[in-house]
Amino acid sequence: MRAGCLARAARYALLTLASLVVLFPLLFCLSVSLQGDTVAPRLVPELGKLDWRAFVEVFRKEHNMLRWILNSFVVAAAVTLGQVAVSALAAYPLAMLRFPGKTFFFFFFVGSLMIPWESTIIPNYLTIASLHWKDSYQGLILPFLASGFGIFLLRQSFMTLPKELYEAAVIEGCGRARYLASVLLPLSRPALATLAVYAFLTTWNQYYWPLLVIDDPAWRTAQVGITAFRSSEIASFNLQMAANLVVMAPTIVLLVVGQKQLVSGLTAGALKG
C-alpha cells in the first residue's frame, strides 16, 4: 500500500513539475503583469505587493479591447468553419469519386501549398481594396476560406476508410451527400479536429494581414490591437503582459473546455489506424 502511495505522490510531483515548465511563459506573464509599472521586474513578484491595476488599465486605456477579442473570435471561427467545410467538400470527390481531371485537381490544390503566402499579399490586398472590403469581417475572412493543406489532410484521412464501407452504404441506398454527412465526416473526426484547431490558431495569431486591411481601430483583431500597449522608448511590461493574458484567456478557456473532446478524438484515430 505504502509503495503505491509513494509512486502516486512521485507521479503527481513529476506532473506538477512538468506542468510548471509548460505553463512557465504564462506564469511569467502573470508575474510581470502584477509588478506594476516598473522597468526592472523580478522573476517572482512580492506576494504582499501584487498590483492588479494592469488588468483594469488594459480595458480603460483601450476601450476597444473587448471588441478586438470579439473580432478575433468571429474571424477565427468563421475561417475555421469555412476551411473545414470547403476542405471536406473538396477532399470528398478527390478521395472517393472517379472523374476526369481528378489528378490535375489534386496536384492543383497541393501545388498551391508551394506558393509562399508573402507573394499573394499584394494581389489579395488589391482584390479586397477594390471590393471596398477594408475594415470589414469579409476582408479578414475571405482570403483564408480555402486551404490546400486542409484539402490534402482530409483527402488522406478519407482515403484510409475502406472502400467496402462506401459500397455497403450505396447498396443500402445511401446517396453521396448522405454518405459524406452520416459516415465520412463522423468517422473522420480526428482529422477534422486537427484541421479545425490548426485553422483556428493560425487565424487567431495572424498579424500582417489584419494590420494591412484594417485602418479603423475598431475593426482590429486582438493581435494587432495589443501592440498599442508597447511603449516606444522605455518598456515597462506590465500592461503588455496583462494585455497578452487577456487576449490569450479565451483560447485557454476553449482549450480547457475542448481538451477532452480533442484528445479523445485524436487518440480514437490513433487506435483505429
Binding site: L50, Y125, E233
Partner: protein, 464 residues
C-alpha cells in the same frame, strides 16, 4: 459535466488571486486619450503614426488640440504598432492607392519614402508660402531631412544618442560626474573602477552594460567624421555601397569587446525587445553603471531608478569617442510626410496640420511630455519647455551635444533604401565578434558590409 467543474476551479483560483490585491486597483490611473468627434462639414485628413504607449498618447493629444482649434479640417489619427509596421503597411498600400494624407516615418525610412514617388516635399509647400519654418529648425535636424537640397518631410520628434551613467556610483568610485566628453580609454578605465566583485570573483556590478545596437555604431562613425555609406552617405546622389567596415567601426567594437573581456562590461545581446529591457533594468537598478541609448529614454530611466530604490542617480554625457576625434552626432527620431493622395482640400488640410504640429506651442508641449527634443527652436521660448528643462537638466546635455556637431555628410547621417536590413547585418556582425564566434571585428564587419552592399544594389536597381 467535468469540463464545467474545471472552469469553476479555474474561476475560483483566479478570483482568489484577484482578492489578494484588488484593493489597490481603486486608485485612479491615467486612461487612454479618446479622439474628438468629427465636426459636421469638416474635411477628413488621415494621419498614421508609429509611436505607441505614453508617447502615442501625446501624439493623440496633439491631434485633439488641432481638431479643437479649428473646424475646417478633421485629422483622423490612426496608431500603427510601430515605425517598421507603419512604413511596411504604407509600402504595401501603395499598390492599392489608399494612402494616408500625413504619415509619421522614422529617420531611416527617408530614402524609401522618397522612392514611393507619392510624396509632396514640405520644401515646396514652405517655399510657396514663403514661411520661415526652415530657419527655425535645429540645423542638425534640418540637414538630416534635407536630401540633395530639398527638405522632404517636416521634423516632428527628434532625439540624440547619449552616454547614461550612474552619478552615485561615479562619485563613490572617485570619477568626475560632471565631465561630458569621454574618450574610449577614459570610459574603459572608469568601467574598471566601477566593477564590484564578491569574494569568489563573481561580478556584482558591471561598469558598462550595453546592447549591440547599429544606431550607436552609426553615431560612433559620425563622431569620428567617418562615412557609413558611399558616396557621401547618399546625401547628393544615391548611396552605392556600405563602407561601415572601417577602422573607425573597429575601434568602437574593439572598445566594447575589451570591456567584456576584462569583466568590466556586459553585453546584453542584439538591441531590441527583451535584451533592451534587460539592459535598462540593469542600469536603473545599479547593476551596470554606464550605458548608451537615446535621450528619449531619459524620463524612463529617471523613473525606473527612483522606483528601484537602489540610489541610482541618472547622469548624461556625450557618447564617447576615440582620443582626437572631432565629435558630433546624427539625429534620430521621426518626421511628418505629406502624400500626394486625396483631394486638394485633404492635401491642404494635411499641410495645415503639419504646420500646426510645427508651431512652438505644440512642439514644446510634445517635447515636454515625451523624451524628445523639439526640432523647432522657437519651442525653447515656451514656458512648458523651460519647465521641462528645469526638471530634467540632463536633457540640456543632449541639446548641447547636438549643437556642438559640425555639419558634414558624416554627421548628417546615411540615407539608403535598405537601412533596416543593413542594421540587422551590422548587429549580427557585432554579435559574432563580441561573442567570440569571429576572431576580428574587421572580418565580421567586412562580411556584413558586402552583404549590405549587394542588398542595396538590388534595391537601387529596382528603384531607379
Amino acid at each position: 459535466m467535468r469540463s464545467s467543474s474545471r472552469i469553476a476551479i479555474l474561476a475560483l483560483a483566479l478570483g482568489g488571486l484577484a482578492a489578494l490585491g484588488f484593493s489597490q486597483a481603486a486608485a485612479a490611473a491615467p486612461t487612454g486619450v479618446e479622439a474628438l468627434p468629427q465636426s459636421a462639414g469638416s474635411t477628413k485628413v488621415s494621419f498614421w503614426f508609429g509611436l505607441t504607449g505614453v508617447n502615442g498618447d501625446v501624439v493623440r493629444q496633439v491631434v485633439n488640440k488641432y481638431n479643437a482649434s479649428q473646424t475646417k479640417y478633421y485629422v483622423d489619427a490612426v496608431s500603427q504598432p510601430d515605425y517598421d509596421a507603419t512604413i511596411n503597411k504604407l509600402n504595401t498600400s501603395l499598390a492599392g492607392g489608399e494612402l494616408p494624407n500625413v504619415v509619421q516615418i522614422y529617420d531611416i525610412g527617408t530614402q524609401r519614402m522618397i522612392d514611393t514617388k507619392k510624396i509632396i516635399p514640405v520644401q515646396t509647400l514652405i517655399d510657396k508660402e514663403k514661411l520661415g519654418l526652415i530657419k527655425d529648425l535645429e540645423p542638425a535636424v534640418a540637414s538630416y531631412y534635407t536630401i540633395a537640397g530639398t527638405l522632404y518631410s517636416m521634423p516632428f520628434n527628434s532625439s540624440a544618442p547619449v552616454m547614461y551613467f550612474d552619478k552615485t556610483a561615479f562619485k563613490e568610485a572617485g570619477l568626475d560626474a560632471s565631465k561630458r566628453v569621454w574618450t574610449y580609454d577614459e570610459v574603459a578605465a572608469a568601467a574598471k573602477a566601477l566593477v564590484k566583485k564578491d569574494s569568489s570573483g563573481k561580478v556584482l556590478r558591471h561598469g558598462i552594460g550595453f546592447t549591440l545596437y547599429s544606431w550607436i555604431l552609426e553615431e560612433e562613425l559620425a563622431t569620428q567624421g567617418v562615412l557609413f555609406a558611399d558616396p557621401g552617405n547618399g546625401r547628393q546622389t544615391r548611396a552605392q555601397k556600405l563602407v561601415f567596415n572601417s577602422s573607425a567601426a573597429e575601434k568602437w567594437l574593439d572598445f566594447l569587446k575589451s570591456t567584456v573581456d576584462s569583466g568590466s562590461g556586459e553585453s546584453f545581446g542584439i538591441d531590441g525587445g527583451a535584451n533592451s529591457a534587460a539592459r535598462d533594468a540593469a542600469f536603473v537598478t545599479g547593476e551596470a553603471c554606464i550605458t548608451f541609448n537615446s535621450i528619449a529614454s531619459l524620463r524612463g530611466y529617471i523613473k525606473g531608478a527612483k522606483d528601484s530604490g537602489n540610489g541610482v542617480e541618472v547622469g548624461v554625457a556625450y557618447i564617447p569617442r576615440p582620443a582626437g576625434a572631432p565629435g558630433g552626432v546624427i539625429i534620430g527620431g521621426a518626421s511628418l510626410w505629406i502624400t500626394n493622395t486625396g483631394t486638394s482640400a485633404e492635401q491642404a488640410g494635411a499641410w495645415d496640420f503639419v504646420k500646426f504640429a510645427s508651431s512652438p506651442a505644440v512642439q514644446a508641449f510634445f517635447a515636454s511630455n515625451t523624451g524628445y527634443y523639439p526640432p523647432h527652436t522657437a519651442a525653447y521660448a515656451v514656458q512648458d519647455m523651460k519647465d521641462a528643462l528645469a526638471l530634467y537638466p540632463q536633457f540640456q546635455v543632449a541639446i548641447d551635444e547636438l549643437r556642438a556637431t559640425k555639419a558634414s555628410p558624416a554627421t548628417q547621417g546615411a540615407v539608403l533604401g535598405t537601412f533596416v536590413k543593413t542594421r540587422t547585418n551590422v548587429q549580427s556582425a557585432m554579435e559574432q565578434y563580441i561573442s567570440g564566434k569571429v576572431p576580428s571585428a574587421k572580418q565580421a564587419l567586412d562580411a556584413a558590409a558586402s552583404m549590405s552592399s549587394s542588398e542595396l544594389g538590388e534595391y537601387d536597381s529596382m528603384s531607379d
